[in-house]
């Protein structure tokens, strides 16, 4: 059932999308054909899709780490911005004083640090006081966006290009620019993301901490009985999650924009990470595949914008939302063996993504 379910989810989402395309006066067949061609239809298309997928792998992992222990970090978006702010700030500050490998490493770690710092407040509030993390992490996204916009559009900050008529970020020194892979738009960021996948997978499956995460995610009560500190677990999961999102920001700075560029960053990568994690069923390897799928959809959205009939690219975001709703619905077919209402059915437990109680115990 499992491999069938995501495919069905995508198909159903495309049908919903087709409905709204017809409503808006577009031909869904043409639109989908263009989308297919511009996301997976040729080598350059695939490369662009991989470039789009790179940050999604990291934000997907960020969501995954928290979701595994039933924490809802919805703030990857903001953590990504702050990661980018710190990464570009550090890269600009070091200038060309460092050699390329060190400058790049420092930039990536600065991104991780930025994300970690920005998640610290909701993480501490959640682990010590039980403050609902969904609302705090989410609202901080708006704070981070405003901060980033202020740095580039609202002030003459250190990040802003002092020359040039249009407000934009100052270009980072060449030492901090990520090398490209071969002759393509692909850059070091993809490798960083894949290393992160490997590390997260190792952490989850090969370390004591990962084992504790699994126990904690399955049953907080059981975790307490074996002496796993809930506070520490919550804090660690959040900080790791924030760091991953922050690295996604650093990767945009070093590999793509080469400056702090709000227009390149504020495209909902953090929110899309939630979809990636959910569709992967909280499986690090799955994150890569789903990120490529969603990256393709997003990439196709951009191509649609260029069509003569100007199909709004947001059809891609709508499709993402629809895919998530259908994938979630298909969970029921994975978790339960459906026998129709006239016969009793019993749950097959063990899905990491089963319906999870929340809210009641946290004000």
């Amino acid at each position: 059932m499992y491999p069938l379910a995501p495919a069905a989810a995508v198909l159903l989402a495309l049908m919903v999308g087709a409905f709204f395309l017809v409503v808006a006066g577009h031909d869904p067949i043409t639109v989908y054909r263009v989308m297919m061609r511009s996301s997976f239809g040729s080598t350059p298309a695939v490369i662009n899709t991989l470039v789009s997928a790179t940050p999604l792998i990291l934000t997907g992992l960020a969501a995954l780490v928290c979701f595994r222990v039933r924490l809802w970090n919805i703030g990857a978006e903001g953590q990504l911005y702050v990661g980018a702010i710190l990464a570009s700030g550090v890269a600009l500050w070091f200038g060309d004083r460092l050699g390329a490998p060190i400058a790049i490493t420092v930039t990536i770690f600065a991104g991780a640090l930025g994300g970690t710092l920005f998640v610290a407040l909701p993480a501490l509030a959640r682990s010590w006081l039980g403050t609902n993390e969904i609302i705090t992490t989410l609202l901080l996204n708006f704070v981070a966006l405003l901060l980033m916009n202020w740095l580039i559009f609202g002030s003459r900050s250190y990040w802003r290009d002092p020359v040039g008529t249009f407000p934009q970020g100052k270009r980072i020194p060449s030492a901090a620019e990520f090398p490209r892979l071969g002759d393509t738009r692909l850059h070091l960021g993809l490798l960083v993301a894949l290393v992160a996948v490997l590390l997260v997978w190792l952490m989850l499956t090969r370390t004591r901490f990962g084992f504790h995460m699994r126990v904690f995610g399955d049953s907080e009560k059981a975790a307490r009985y074996v002496g796993i500190s809930a506070r520490r677990m919550i804090l660690m999961a959040f900080l790791i999650s924030g760091a991953l999102a922050g690295v996604a920001g650093a990767i945009d700075v070093g590999g793509l924009s080469r400056r702090l560029d709000p227009n390149s960053l504020a495209i909902g990568l953090g929110y899309a990470g939630i979809i990636v994690a959910a569709l992967s069923r909280l499986n690090p390897g799955g994150v890569v595949l789903v990120a490529i799928l969603i990256g393709g959809v997003r990439n196709a959205g951009t191509a649609l914008q260029a069509l003569p009939e100007r199909v709004p690219m947001e059809i891609a975001v709508m499709l993402e939302g629809a895919i998530l709703i259908f994938a979630l619905s298909s969970e029921v077919f994975i978790r339960y063996r459906i026998r129709w209402p006239w016969s009793a059915h019993r749950a097959i437990t063990g899905s990491p993504f089963a319906a999870i109680p929340t809210g009641g115990d946290r004000a």
């Binding site: 609202l139 901060l147 059809i315 709703i325 319906a355 929340t358």
Partner: protein
Amino acid sequence: MNESLITLTLAAAVAAGTPLALAAIGEIITQRAGILNLGVEGMMLLGAVTTFLTANATGSPWVGMVAGATSAALLAATHAFVSISLRANQIVSGLALVIFGIGLSTFLGRPIEGVPLDPTARLPGATVPGLKDIPVLGPVLFSQDVVVYATWVLAAATALYLFRTRPGLSVRAVGESISTADAMGIRVAAIRYAHTIVGGMLAGGAGAYLILALLPSWSQAATTNGRGFIAIALVVFASWRPWRALVGAYVFGLALRANFALQAAGVTTISAEFLAMAPYLLTILLLIALSMSDTRRRAGAPEALGLPYAREER
């Protein structure tokens, strides 16, 4: 800051708080029945764009508002189906609603981005005779529009319904202990469906009000800006009580309008971006402060909130 500026600011705060109040009361209704719908932001946006399109086409704000509420109710019904019938994770479903709502409203709204609302479709002002002449309170509370007054009626009606009627008791029973309610013979699924959909209608109404009364034109980026999530936070601050949500909404309305007031008063030392952060930071700090006071921590949260329910399953 002179007196008329204060009055103007307070009046603007009440107007800005009205969509928050509508959405928050809607979410209270939903959560009292035990369903957590995080999709308020998406429902508000879809409600807003549908309202704009229909109001501009028909020239009637009321037709627009009904259309907006209906579209949001459809989204809420989706959430109800996924979380009640399919028993899926309500948090993820709600977030999916947000993403879908943002995508769909931007998609539908792209051709009308920046287009102003037809003046005939704007919500007309309506003063309350007699009361509007009271100093300060008159212009602040009684020179608004029908929706502002309707929000008060809604808060009162919701409070009465939830706490003083038999059906309201059933709703709370479903929210507190759904298996008990089920054993009592209450039709739990029907109640959860109905209240999720009503909550969605109110979120759609909130989006409609934003477009019909507060914003000059349609712009996806400027329409909700996290108001849907502030409304959800308001539910917590209000300990799931409609009246408190109304008062809280006006306080947040003030926070949303304070930057304009400060600019009008000549305060320019603080950047617009930092002033705009105020409502978000205020929400976060209040949430943290609320969870610090241990005794109040769980005040009012429905016990079965977010829990899916299958009969004879534990």
